[in-house]
């Protein structure tokens, strides 16, 4: 089966123009393919560039070279060269991202926030609401919280809102940046269940997990980012 993500010769060097144009090389020549049902876990110590790679794949960081091809509507789109509206379309329908932190929007309720990815895809509001409530229940977020904006929630609660927002749509490709970082063991197990369910349905995933139990429970293989460390 054809891979859903193809990373080709990817390179990233940060250039800080306001710090005497200091260049910080992260990786170069990085190659990676991920197929349906695969969960590739990025390995390596902190600072090796795992999050940078994830963000480059999502189009959030601009690589210095190479390509990131994502299978979208049956054709590969190179995220590094696609126009903003193409990237937005790929993100809306194909490429999901669970970050460590929830970007809270003032005044928007938890339920609205979780429904949003469905509303953006034209799903009927009543159906979106039912699915959001189902997922928040599965993630054991008390219904009393649903109508509140998550700004004042605990780290673990915000994280679960974030996870609900990303798993409410069945994204063919999911990037997981420490989705279980601030969760207790029971909630971690629930998230592992969601990840496995999505993998069984054919999603391709790239993840960063510092928690070894979670990693062992979901990884189909490890990918050492340090193998592609760029020379300074």
């Amino acid at each position: 089966m054809s891979p859903l993500i193809v990373v080709e010769d990817l390179a990233k060097t940060f250039v800080l123009h306001n710090a005497e144009s200091a260049a910080i090389p992260v990786f170069s020549g990085l190659r990676l393919e991920v197929g349906p049902g695969e969960c590739v876990v990025l390995a390596g110590e902190s600072g090796v560039g795992k999050s940078t790679l994830m963000r480059a794949i999502y189009g959030n960081y601009l690589p210095s070279g190479g390509a990131v091809r994502v299978l979208h509507d049956g054709a590969y789109v190179d995220i590094t060269r696609a126009s903003p509206h193409e990237v937005i379309d790929v993100r809306r329908r194909t490429l999901g991202y669970v970050s460590q932190f929830l970007r809270v929007i003032p005044r928007i309720s938890t339920l609205q926030l979780v429904m949003e990815p469905l509303l953006e895809n034209g799903v009927d509001p009543a159906e979106a609401k039912a699915r959001a409530e189902g997922l928040l229940t599965a993630l054991r977020l008390p219904p009393a919280h649903w109508d509140l904006p998550p700004a004042t929630f605990s780290g673990g609660e915000q994280q679960r809102v974030n996870i609900a927002r990303s798993f409410i749509r069945n994204y063919p490709v999911l990037l997981l940046d420490e989705p279980t970082a601030s969760l207790d063991a029971d909630n971690r197990a629930i998230v592992v269940g969601l990840i496995r369910q999505a993998l069984a349905a054919g999603a391709a995933m790239i993840g960063i997990f510092h928690d070894h139990d979670v990693r062992d429970a979901v990884a189909t293989r490890l990918f050492p980012v340090s193998d592609f460390k760029a020379a300074a």
Binding site: R55, L62, P106, R107
Partner: protein, 265 residues
């Protein structure tokens, strides 16, 4: 499929080519080119004096550029150079198909007319004659922007700054424009009022599938509202790209400075 999902295949709604504006010897903006699709939100960011407002005024048909073209997909003539239209045709097109939200509500409202009359006026200008219908549309819009409809007859000066701004938003959306220009729409407001207005604008833009060009110097507003950004400095566009990419991994020295200067709270 909603309006946003259609964005990808759609032809440009607005096409700006090599737009340049000189004020005598002084540069307003230079060689600006971009396209905007239906439903797309473009943010123009930069410090004061960077040329953002000049650019916005040129694009919105309010300030003739020195050179370059602004083409809009008009419903009457198709894709047409805005400055190639006769004055009456251009004004009609602006009234029918565009909205313009000013930073200061006083620039966008008739201060002597009531709040309700301000909201209803665009419908009357477009030939609306059924007063019952127009009044109902006005009430609907006042509700939509979360204003107390019992105050429909109050003059704008009796409303707070945030409320005036919401009246201005209603006035600019009631006629169903396809493109709305916003010049620092949350500029003069307290932060809590600003957050409320931003939520409202975000929701309306999504639900109506509006194309928006928003000028702001506030990076948080840019992140919340815009799909993509243009960073301006000294009248030139120094960087463009997807909003989160420009804000999280800015490439140009000036964009890096701009983003790193934002205070974290």
């Amino acid at each position: 499929m909603n309006a946003m999902a259609k964005t990808i295949q759609a032809a440009p709604l607005l096409s700006v080519r090599d737009l340049t504006k000189w004020y005598g010897q002084i540069l307003g903006c230079r060689d600006v080119s971009f396209e905007l699709r239906p439903g797309e939100v473009l943010g123009i960011v930069g410090e004061s004096g960077s040329g953002k407002t000049t650019l916005l005024n040129c694009i919105s048909g309010r300030l003739a550029p020195t050179s370059g073209a602004v083409e809009f997909d008009t419903s009457r003539f198709g894709l047409t150079d805005v400055y190639g239209l006769s004055e009456p045709d251009r004004r009609r097109m602006q009234r029918e198909e565009w909205g313009f939200v000013h930073q200061n509500p006083r620039d966008g409202l008739r201060m002597r007319a009531s709040g309700g009359a301000n909201v209803a006026e665009p419908l009357m200008n477009l030939g609306g004659r059924n007063y019952g219908k127009m009044r109902q549309a006005t009430i609907d819009w006042l509700e939509r922007v979360e204003l107390d409809t019992r105050r429909i007859d109050d003059k704008p000066r009796r409303f707070s700054g945030g409320m005036q701004q919401r009246i201005q938003v209603a006035r600019n959306l009631i006629h169903g424009p396809r493109l709305v220009f916003m010049d620092e729409p949350t500029g003069g407001l307290d932060v809590s009022v600003q957050a409320r207005l931003l939520d409202l604008l975000r929701e309306l833009v999504r639900d109506l599938g509006l194309a928006v060009i928003i000028v702001t110097h506030d990076m948080a507003v840019a992140r919340l509202m815009a799909d993509r950004l243009m960073v301006m400095k000294g009248g030139l566009v120094v960087e463009t790209g997807l909003t989160d990419q420009v804000l999280d991994d800015p490439q140009h020295p000036y964009s890096q400075l701009l983003v790193s200067s934002v205070l974290q709270i």
